[in-house]
């Protein structure tokens, strides 16, 4: 993939769609100083910051309610259980699921995908079957299938990317063969920013009778998602990447599929009846939630969703699109920045991977850090993609609702200074 053309896109230098100053006040960490500089947090694809309402929900829960859920007959347990289930309903609504029971709480998107690989995959994937992935997948949606393929003798096939960092779907009809049982792909790339045409891929997969899994870890936080209209069979995402606490992820699955699956982890809460030599299972979603769940963080995810709902996912997307357009334009203007992924903000999210001259991404990240700017450097859990792109690592800046043009200006100015500094030392 060559350096993308230096098209300078400057549409809306005016005030954006969101009242950022108001939003920023809701995020305590944004007052943090790093090396004497105000924190500029551009590592949102790794994890996002949390609004005060989320932090307060944790404090409130632990100070007033804390109890174990589901099996309790006392007041605290009842309050905890109903708050725990309210988050499920809100989450179901957020992604357009048919019913709350189709939302299963996991630790993170990674575990959601592993749940499918273990409970659905081990039962439905056989020797000679095909699993279709894409060349841009995150390890989370790659390694579970590599392991499953090795165990079962299934084959893996990859939808390729073109030189622009977009999926090349021309050959899709041949890649999704009749023996394809699963098509699993990311909706938005954490490296390239690319937004993939999920609906189109799912439709093709379904025509072949394949099940589909969408890795929504990067898309659910950043754009409106409707699993119903996508017709996705499984959809995985993480709370911590969308204003929520760490330790909470979600697997959405269509009820008819989840109902037919065996459980993953087993133990308390997920059973119907247990004898010394026998066990059967509780209904959805409990069947997949063994043991004491991450109660407090599930409950504290509700204000995160409410926050996103209040802002509006269309506005979130538009704000980030504008910011990305602005950043891409400035970065390309510099002339010395090589960007990986599409440069048209209409087809991408706000994760921008780049390299500058011979400056290694670790050095770049260290130097940006001394200026208070937090970015990520490395392979971004996508080693095969890195190889495909012909690099060992990139630096990545990624945005969210609280990021501003001023922050991007600082980032750009830093790139210039760092380049000068590094060529002089």
């Amino acid at each position: 993939m060559g350096m993308v053309e230096n098209t300078i896109i400057k549409k809306s230098a005016e005030k954006g769609v969101l009242d950022i100053n108001k939003i920023r006040k809701d995020f305590p960490v944004l007052n943090r100083e790093v090396h004497g500089k105000k924190l500029v947090y551009l590592d949102n694809a790794a994890t996002t910051q949390k609004p005060r309402a989320v932090i307060e929900a944790l404090v409130d829960y632990y100070s007033n309610t804390n109890a174990n859920v589901h099996r309790g007959l006392h007041t605290l347990a009842e309050e905890a259980t109903s708050a725990f289930e309210e988050t499920r309903s809100l989450t179901a609504g957020f992604i357009g699921a048919e019913e709350p029971a189709e939302i299963i709480y996991t630790r993170n998107a990674t575990e959601a995908i592993n749940l499918v690989a273990y409970s659905w995959g081990r039962k439905n994937i056989r020797k000679g079957d095909r699993i279709v992935l894409t060349e841009m997948e995150h390890h989370a949606n790659l390694v579970p299938w590599i392991v499953l393929a090795k165990e079962t003798g299934a084959e893996l096939a990859y939808i390729p990317i073109d030189d622009n960092g977009c999926l090349d779907l021309d050959d899709l009809g041949n890649i999704i063969t009749p023996n394809t049982k699963l098509v699993a792909f990311m909706q938005m790339s954490n490296v390239l920013g690319t937004i993939n045409p999920a609906g189109e891929i799912i439709e093709k997969a379904h025509k072949r009778g394949a099940i589909t899994l969408v890795d929504g870890a990067q898309s659910a936080p950043h754009m409106p998602v409707d699993v119903k209209s996508l017709d996705a069979d499984f959809y995985a995402f993480s709370a911590h990447k969308m204003l929520g606490p760490t330790g909470v992820g979600f697997l959405y699955g269509k009820r008819e599929i989840l109902d037919r699956m065996e459980p993953f982890n087993t133990g308390g809460e997920m059973i119907n009846e247990v004898r010394y030599d026998y066990a059967d299972w509780n209904d959805l979603p409990h069947k997949f939630e063994a043991g004491t769940p991450n109660i407090a963080d599930v409950i504290a995810f509700k204000p995160a969703l409410e926050y996103l709902n209040n802002v509006g996912m269309d506005a979130v997307r538009e704000h980030e699109r504008e910011l990305t357009e602005y950043a891409l334009g400035k970065m390309l203007d510099l002339g010395f920045v090589k960007i990986f992924g599409p440069t048209d903000s209409a087809h991408r999210g706000g994760a921008i991977s780049f390299i500058v001259d011979d400056i290694h991404s670790h050095d770049m990240a260290t130097m940006l850090d001394t200026r208070g700017i937090a970015v990520r450097a490395g392979h971004h859990c996508a080693q095969p993609l890195m190889k495909r792109l012909g690099v060992s690592s990139t630096t990545r800046a990624s945005f969210y609702i609280y990021n501003t043009r001023e922050e991007i200006d600082e980032f750009i100015a830093s790139l210039v200074e760092i380049r000068r500094y590094f060529s002089n030392v």
Partner: protein, 156 residues
């Protein structure tokens, strides 16, 4: 001990708890079903004798708390001799009452002692105790409609 508790443990409820109706096993059963609350362990079995769409006899055996046992006992008492359609209506009304939902005016049914269950709705975690027998009943009836032989239900 507390006014709140008095609303839950009304005399009628305690009477049904201590002397559950429908306890006697039937010598023949047209439809047998079982219900369970996995989270708390309440278990219930139900047998119905049905003839020409009328519930001629019923057995309810419940291992559970005062609320689930008495709810099952009231059920046994009230559905005996009623048509399946009537019974379905009653079950709907009981469910609505327990969940605190409004009951449509145009439904005229004979509630018997069932009114006493109204206090349960103030104890959200106990609602499923009161529901157990009714959910099992509905599954039973649906099983008849589907021409199956056994039903299994839970209120989780």
């Amino acid at each position: 001990m507390s006014d709140m508790l008095d609303e839950l443990y009304r005399d009628v409820i305690m009477d049904h708890y201590r002397n559950p109706r429908g306890k006697k096993k039937l010598d023949k059963s047209d439809i047998h079903s079982e219900g369970k609350n996995p989270s708390c362990g309440d278990e219930l079995e139900m047998d119905l004798q049905i003839k020409d769409g009328i519930i001629e006899d019923v057995h309810v055996g419940c291992v559970g708390c005062a609320i689930s046992v008495s709810s099952g006992s009231m059920l046994a008492e009230v559905i005996k001799g009623k048509s399946i359609d009537e019974v379905k209506k009653i079950a709907e009304v009981v469910k609505k009452m327990l969940k605190g939902e409004p009951i449509p005016d145009d439904i005229e049914i004979e509630m018997g002692d069932l009114d006493a269950l109204e206090g349960v709705k103030k104890f959200p975690v106990r609602i499923k105790c009161a529901l157990l027998s009714w959910t099992t009943l509905i599954d039973s009836i649906d099983t008849v409609a589907d021409n199956k032989e056994r039903a299994f239900s839970t209120t989780e």
